[in-house]
Amino acid sequence: MPASDGIEPLRGSGLDGTDAQRIYRYMLLARAISEKSWLLTRQGRVLFTMPCDGQEAADVASAYALDRGNDFIVPYARSLGAMLVKGMTTQEVMLNMFGKAADPNSGGRQMPMHWGYKKLGIISMGSSVATTIPRAAGVALASKLRKQNAVTMVYFGEGSASEGDFHEGLAFAGVHRLPVVFFCNNNGWATSVPVNLQSAEPQVAKRAQGYGFPGVTIDGLDPLTVYQAVKAAVDLARSGEGPTLVEAMTIRMMPHSSSDDHLRYRTQEELDAERKLDPLPRFRDFLISANLLNEESDQTMSDSVDQEVEDAIELADAAPSPDPDSAMDRVYAP
């Protein structure tokens, strides 16, 4: 399957066929991990998860637009796809899911899907949403002061954009034209609260003009669209032109978390309809039509992804838990 076959339909996106295939594999992997993690919580083997089903295109393609070796990500709990692109292995993700000592995010101290990996430029997140937003501006400020050629991308949900920290972080970044991209994943829900109860203006991106920089709303279900928009924002940031707020319209196919039951506030019909928008089959069809994928290679890729996840689960499950005697360590830096 020669990559060049598919270049034509990718034209303008800045990606070649190999990129598209890679993005697809990351999406598959994120989905597989998300689904497996859900199952693991149902089996009681893992205690908590926050599925990312429906936003793989947004997370993977946006992170793909970064200089993965030098740029920073300030993630949120559904940024699994971005974490994989940034270099986390499936094994490492599973160590986090199982809360094991070797979890590189926190040594088992934080809940699953709470990312942070110094070596990879992933800045640690806690659960208190939106605190990450001024933090990302601060990381970018340091880049500017230290003349690092780095861009910082911060991910958050549209619900979290209701917090005061959103406002304070964006305003600061605007004033100092910081190299930061604000990536809002608008899936329409903050747990059970729909976006119209967060703001009378449903488009979060409209807020950017209040801070003096561009805001764009994009189809977050198409990786090529996401890549293009984010690449433009990253280039702008890197060239010293300041931040962009990118709002990716996505879907939340699963409940908010393994503790949530979305049928309390959404109908099955609504969920079924939304599932038709699933970015994965859509991108697969695109790749097939572009001769970048066929039934067989898709199956091979899927199998390899599943195997990767299974292997990681096995290893993570068997890995040692944190030593109870270490529970009081590292309250203070030495």
């Binding site: 205690l47 908590f48 809360g99 094991k100 926190s106 088992g108 101290r109 934080q110 809940m111 699953p112 709470h114 806690g126 659960s127 208190s128 949403v129 939106a130 619900g159 979290s160 209701s162 917090e163 005061g164 920290d165 903050a190 747990t191 059970s192 609260v193 109860l197 967060q198 703001s199 503790s259 949530d260 309390r264 506030y265 838990s321 944190p322 030593d323 109870p324 005697d325 270490s326 529970a327 009081m328 309250v331």
Partner: protein, 324 residues
Amino acid sequence: MRLIEAVREGLREEMAADPGVFLIGQDIGINGGVFRVTDGLLEEFGPGRVIDSPLAESGMVGVAIGAALNGMRPVVEIQFADFIFPAFNQLVSEAARMHYRTNGEFPVPMVIRAPYGGGVRGGLYHSQSVEAYFAHVPGLKVVVPSSPYDAKGLLKAAIRDDNPVLFFEHKLAYNTVRGEVPDGDYTVPIGEAVVRREGRNLTLISYGLSVHHCLEAAETLAAEGISCEVVDLRTVSPLDTRAFLESVRKTGRACIVHEDNLTGGVGAEVAAIIAKDAFEYLDAPVQRVAAPDVPSFPYSPTLEDALLPGPPDIVRVARELAAY
């Protein structure tokens, strides 16, 4: 009745009795709250009185203060006590001192409810005890019920109180702590402790879920011939100093127990008061059993279990105390 139902009953009855009472919080409407405390209240009272708030704690509390100043009695649900900090300024700088700073013109009748506490594998942000911060703030009242009876009665008292009251419910107690709750209206007065178990050798002083740990420890200790009195503070601010001093003057030995971390916790204040006002009666140093000074409970069960204070810790310290 489970503690969670007692809280719900308290809310429902106060809402039915007083049209000024309304609820505001995240996911409290159709979803009934992430713990289901407000389950059914939207259907019963409608969206004007059960308001799903944006994900914005400071705004939520600020809105509640404003509504309280204009004749309402808002009850705010903070989804987890851990997420009260974004609203800290509204609570400490505004709600707590509105009445004082206006020389009594503007009371703020408002309740802030929040589930607190660890042991649910919630990690650093779904496990905290935050009462000590607020117990330091004159103008706020802080209540932590240990039983369904108290939960309902104290909540009703809190809603009727003309001051801002913080009301912390241990999330592990919601479905595990059961008790008799009479039908209909009654209140439990804010600011009054209660003796949960009488004893002679030493006094265990606690509040919230930890009271049950004390009672469990007292049972174990009784078998060893150590007779413990257990005082349930119920309100941690203002403290019912008379109640625990009376007990300590009788037993001569005191141990304060809480799940919050040791340094600067409510136990420090209680210990300081005992050390001063029961000085002549003390046969042994005042002890505290609390979580060690780590930022919050970590997620991994091995780590959390290593840090959570429980009955064995109380038994160990109480033995030493009795033997002193």
